[in-house]
Amino acid sequence: MNSRKFKWDARSANAMVMLELQGFLERWNDDVIHPFLPRPPNDQDVQAIDWSGLDAWAAGNAISVDQSTIVAVRRIIDLMFQKKRDQLFMEELNNRNPSPDVGRMQQWPHSPLNGTGTGHESYSEDFSNDPDCRTCIHYRGISSSPVEYGLCRAFQELATGDAHGLRGTCDSHREKLTWKPKRYDLSGGIGYTDIQSRFQSHLDRRGNILPNWRKVARALLWMIENQKAELIDGKEARVIPTDHENLLVHLASDRAARVRLTQEWDVYIYARWGGEVHGEWRLQRAPPSQNALRYDLHIVLAETLGRAYQWNQANSEFREWGLEQYKARERLCNHALNRPGRYVTCYEYYHEYAVAGAGHMADSYQARQLQDVNAAWFRFKPTPLPEGGRYSVDPRLIRWREWNRDRARGHV
């Protein structure tokens, strides 16, 4: 294995993205952690948090770059969140039953077995005794060790018609179905094989660490260094990796080792994917309209980490990526901040993109808000030449810039 060590100096000129990551930590700590000290936030604290500061951070950091530069880190970080969400979902299933919808399910009249004693009137969510619908002759299980539950559970909202779905027949129980059981990983973290299944082995034939693995390991190390994740070995003991290569050594040598999110993320997961059901924040059957967060903050964080840690094979060092768009947007905000109405002129809008070497992106970025809820918007209003129009700037982006400016943090 290549044993060279790499130093990172956040004060260097090549530290623009690192400054943004620092900004994330400040926002997170101020808005999510500090209000609840000395205890950590929990999954029921969703509505006590003002998420708008992190929303502004996300708008400042949702930029469009070559996908090949960020996809590896995004995949793995996203997977880590999926695993955590699965873990919390299963905890919820196990700990908070019976659900308030049991009665509604039992009374659903359209079961083909209705009235036989083995239709939905037999529906139960008491996993310890009689798993739901087990007596139904068409039962298809969704299994997960140690819990198994029926497909009709997943289809519950459809079956009861809330989603305008199946009516009159119980399609979820048709015999021809070949349901693949969803197996929840209750560990809540990612291990070597999770990464290997996406990027193959971490070493090439000469024993060098492959670039995708380096990027992912460095991003995970950042999460660990900043208490956003933790490395747990096969004996459930916490381990502190010394650098990203050391992290890889731990993961490769102990296949039961996991990097998992710290508990403080639970509240984010409930805010993003949960909703209030009968006075309680739940992941199960949470109406999406009630999600406190309507965007994937963790995806923006993952992509920012991906841009912070691009592996430069030739120089054997990490480099930052996507810097010019930061500069363009910062300059645009600087113009807007000096004016009432917070706008930039048409000339300024295109000029700043061009100066940053991103002139070709100026137009397509105006459409970006349709494909990315985090993308900052610029709304056009015509004015006569020579101004030729004004673009009002998304207040989230302005807030991002003000936050950085107040901390003497800038990219240009």
Partner: protein, 350 residues
């Protein structure tokens, strides 16, 4: 840059009745020259213009095919609110689940449409006898095609069709399985804003598939069958998928010309929703940025045409801009004209 915004609007106002359409032969010639000279030395990037007998010294100008203009004229004449209501009423009548959602049906995502067009152009350039794209760039279309096929497979296994809501867990499993094939749709789908082109919409425990995408897929399959390709539940191979997508756009434009603006808009949203995954930087340049420049400037500032030299120098890319524009013209996306250098200089000087 010759006519950087906002002066592109000034230029357009001065020349919109003063350009001359280039002939097929003109375009064949310049695209070949452009290809032979290479992307850095193409005359299309010359700040002084180029000679085109008998027109003299000209700048090349690209603008939308006339059929597109109908859409923008309609928005201006009748207003977006009216068009939105008409589209929503049509959806109510067809029973589409998107009806009544307060979506802005007039907001077509030109950047994503451009990505599709860019991927199609590169596939065409790779497949031409006189090849001008030397590497396969079909990943953009292939990945999106595979996303929809995987979802369809999952729904078939559950005895559902794409008109039904899909259990969240099943949809996520299906999409996550694509990551093993180097396709990563979750992030792009997850971040798409709620609206008419969002590929999948989360409804708590369930996910809804964009019904306009499914209609586009059906049309692609039908067109594929008509040209002798395979049918059934499969999808066309990626090397002809781009051509079929361009054909779908062409048909939608014809519908628009016949007065069916509802069908046009829904087809556009279906096409943009189809492009569920973003992958290749070159496709962004050929399609997303180039096409977005034409459409976005038209839609926001009424700029109907752009100087090719400004577009080419801004993109600063290694693909053959002349060849790409030629294909765009052949498929009715753009028109390609010439404006005398003196006219342009005079317009910008005043």
């Amino acid at each position: 840059m010759k006519a950087r915004p906002p002066f592109d609007a000034k230029l357009w106002a001065a020349i919109e009745d003063d350009y001359v359409a280039l002939t097929d032969d003109d375009i064949e010639d310049i695209s070949e020259i452009c290809h032979d000279e290479g992307p850095n030395d193409t005359p299309l990037r010359d700040e002084n213009g180029r000679d085109v007998p008998p027109l003299g010294r000209i700048y090349d100008l690209i603008h939308l095919d006339n059929r597109w203009e109908l859409w923008f004229a309609l928005l201006e004449q009748r207003g977006r609110a009216t068009i939105r209501a008409e589209i929503d009423a049509a959806l109510q009548n067809s029973g589409a689940w998107e009806a009544g959602r307060d979506y802005d049906w007039t907001a077509i995502n030109w950047a994503v449409l451009g990505r599709m067009i860019g991927a199609a152009i590169l596939a065409i350039g790779y497949g031409e006898t006189l090849q001008w794209v030397y590497k396969r760039y079909d990943g953009e279309l292939r990945a999106s095609r595979d996303v929809w096929m995987e979802l369809e497979k999952e729904m078939n296994e559950l005895g559902l069709d794409l008109g039904n809501a899909l259990p969240n867990a099943a949809a996520l499993d299906a999409l996550a399985s694509l990551i093993e094939h180097d396709i990563d749709p979750l992030a792009d789908i997850g971040r798409a804003a709620d609206g008419p082109a969002k590929p999948l919409t989360n409804e708590g425990s369930f996910i809804r598939v964009n019904s306009n995408v499914e209609r586009v897929r059906e049309r692609i399959r039908t067109l594929n069958l008509a040209r002798g390709g395979g049918g059934g539940g499969g999808a066309p191979a990626e090397d002809i998928l781009g051509v079929l997508c361009l054909k779908v756009i062409d048909e939608a434009l014809d519908e628009l010309a016949k007065g069916n603006h509802v069908g046009f808009a829904l087809r556009m949203h279906g096409l943009t929703g189809y492009m569920a995954v973003r992958r290749q930087a070159v496709v962004q340049k050929v399609g997303m940025h180039l096409i977005a420049s034409i459409f976005v400037r038209k839609e926001t500032r009424g700029v109907g045409g752009l100087l090719v030299l400004d577009v080419a120098n801004s993109l600063d890319t290694q693909f053959s801009i002349g060849k790409a524009l030629k294909v765009l013209r052949e498929y009715g996306i753009i028109s390609w004209s010439a404006v005398p250098v003196t006219t342009v200089d005079a317009a910008l000087a005043t």
